[in-house]
């Protein structure tokens, strides 16, 4: 894992900065596609700053009269704030549960030998490829049997056991040599000290990569809340914004855009702050789309 090889190696190559027609074409191509890539974000922010009279001029990116009233309305809207709270609760509890449950399993698979390990690990690999849709109906039935529909538990429980988490972190545990444990023992470490001061620092990169993946996946998840939630106040941000746009906002697109900005902002800020970690995290977790 770690950072992508590209950015490290390619940057150090000698650069040639002379003008060439081919180079200009490449620049044009990049700028054109860059504009398309960023346009929806620009439109979203631009529209969110427009007063309601201006949303009919959707060809205009920037507002004529800047207003922040849209954001005041979003932050004053109890349902939208509830979506954000739900999103935070679900992603945080899912991640905490995942780390608690999957790290020990990853450790056992990576570092201990026991009868049946290979067979059990092939089950982990198998679980890696199951698409979420195949489990959706039975999980819905099971959760409704437990009377958990419309609860945080329904949004959280199905995701605690993560074969992807076990798979990623196992790789890291495997690379930790036994000599480290020996050294810790000779220094008189207790077991918990050993875990905290020897093991955890060594697998921190794996935990980081998995955490980014997990938070992004569950903050963004749209499908599962639609399945197990049927009251508006229990929705998470993605399903919440769609509900808000469909049912509440009507043509008040400026408010919808402001709400979208607020919902997208936490991840985008994190992405911009830790680009490399984000990209490598989201690309080492390939199979789960």
């Amino acid at each position: 894992m770690g950072s992508l090889p590209v950015t490290a190696t390619s940057i150090r190559r000698g650069r040639r900065l002379r003008f060439s027609p081919g180079g200009a074409v490449v620049w044009l191509f990049l700028v054109a596609l860059g504009v398309i890539a960023l346009f929806p974000f620009a439109l979203m922010v631009g529209t969110s700053l427009k007063p309601i009279e201006e949303i009919f001029e959707s060809g205009r990116l920037l507002p004529r009269h800047l207003t922040f009233g849209t954001y005041a309305e979003v932050f004053g809207h109890s349902l939208l704030m509830r979506y954000l709270l739900n999103g935070v609760i679900v992603t945080v509890v899912v991640l905490a549960g995942q780390l608690l449950v999957n790290i020990p399993a990853a450790y056992a698979f990576g570092k201990l030998s026991f009868p049946g390990r290979e067979a059990l690990f092939s089950l982990v690999l198998a679980a890696l490829v199951f698409p979420r849709y195949i489990a959706a109906v039975p999980n819905f039935l099971f959760l409704s049997r437990l009377r958990l529909i419309n609860t945080y538990a329904a949004l959280i429980l199905p995701f605690i056991g993560s074969s992807l988490g076990v798979f990623l972190m196992r790789q890291f545990f495997r690379q930790v040599p036994w000599e480290y444990f020996d050294a810790a023992r000779l220094d008189g470490c207790s077991l918990s000290q050993m875990l905290r001061h020897v093991l955890m620092p060594l697998i921190r990169p794996a935990i980081g990569a998995f955490s980014i993946f997990s938070v992004v996946a569950h903050w963004n998840d749209f499908f599962w809340p639609l399945v197990v939630i049927n009251t508006s106040k229990m929705l998470t941000p993605p399903a919440g914004i769609v509900y808000f746009a469909d049912v509440e906002a009507g043509t008040r697109w400026n408010i919808v855009m402001a709400a979208s900005v607020v919902i997208i902002a936490p991840l985008l800020i994190a992405f911009i702050a830790a680009r490399r970690q984000f990209i490598s995290s989201l690309t080492t977790t390939t199979l789960k789309g």
């Binding site: 529209t47 399993a105 690309t283 789309g289």
Partner: protein
């Protein structure tokens, strides 16, 4: 692989508490309950005639599949899935490759450009799909406003059959090309620089260098990205649900959306489970293919 635990460590005070079976138990409890059992139960349900909320369920063996394969809806959704997947994969890979080639030449800005094109990947898709719905909106939409300014007529992009699928694919490529790009950037950096230097000395043109060096050496990456993109395409839900909800009249309804509607809007549990099994088989085939490719990529 040798990971046997040394004997003296096993005797370490407290170490025995770390019984491996105890360590993996919580994980398997959760995965068993929410992954393995549901998958098996899905297969079982697909042999049942059962509408949720009705007391009766009846074992019908393959009737759901017969119904499935005889239904217009299912084949339409399958064709839509195929069309969506092919275009999404081809364009995402095409643009991803072109972007990676363009970026690796601009060394100083490579990281900045990567961030620009990866931004759509990291953004919450459902929320961005709402923005795209505004762009494509028939009355207020940005696209139509631009068309009108240059004197063309308005188009109801998301509500007419000839444009809806195109719009959906466009947004899908917008959100996936950057993802493909990252893999190609990594693949390109693994190609030895010396090959290009040798080609330069022989006076090879850039086009020739691409087809003689870049393309063949990149082909394992390309295959890998292709499979990842196919899995992503088969799993696509957010974009289509928000942009068109499968409409107009089912023109953009793909298998995942059909499954959602049958299972959670019409509550035809058995029938929906049949769709789930079909989808599962498709993804499984791709996953097996990926494992093969991964071996090939790593061992050559």
């Amino acid at each position: 692989m040798k990971t046997a635990q040394p004997a003296h460590l096993a005797r370490w005070a407290g170490w025995r508490l770390l019984n491996p079976y105890l360590l993996i138990l919580p994980f398997f409890a959760f995965v068993g309950l929410f992954v393995f059992w549901p998958v098996a139960y899905s297969v079982f349900l697909s042999t049942m005639e059962w509408k949720l909320g009705y007391a009766s369920r009846e074992f019908v063996l393959l009737d759901n599949y017969v119904k499935l394969f005889a239904s217009r809806e299912f084949w339409d959704a399958t064709v839509n899935t195929l069309v969506y997947t092919v275009f999404m994969v081809v364009f995402s890979i095409g643009f991803g490759l072109l972007l990676s080639l363009a970026i690796t030449r601009r060394e100083r800005f490579s990281s900045m450009w990567q961030a620009v094109f990866f931004l759509p990947v990291a953004a919450t898709m459902a929320a961005m799909a709402v923005v795209w719905r505004y762009i494509f909106d028939a009355n207020l939409g940005t696209l139509n406003a631009i068309l009108q300014q240059i004197g063309l007529r308005r188009i109801d992009w998301l509500n007419q059959g000839s444009t809806a699928m195109g719009a959906v694919i466009f947004v899908s490529v917008w959100s996936n090309a950057g993802y493909a790009m990252v893999y190609f950037v990594a693949g390109l950096s693994a190609i030895p620089r010396a090959l290009y230097e040798a080609a330069d000395m022989d006076g090879a043109s850039p086009v020739r260098k691409f087809f003689a060096i870049t393309w063949p050496l990149l082909s394992p990456t390309t295959l890998f990205v292709m499979i990842i993109m196919m899995v992503r395409a088969l799993g696509s839900f957010d974009i289509i649900k928000v942009l068109t909800n499968g409409g107009p009249v089912g023109e953009t309804r793909v298998l995942s959306l059909l499954l959602y509607q049958e299972a959670f809007q019409f509550f035809d549990t058995g029938y929906a489970s049949g769709i789930a099994v079909v989808l599962f088989i498709l993804v499984l085939a791709l996953a097996l293919l990926q494992m093969k490719v991964e071996k090939w990529v790593h061992y050559q």
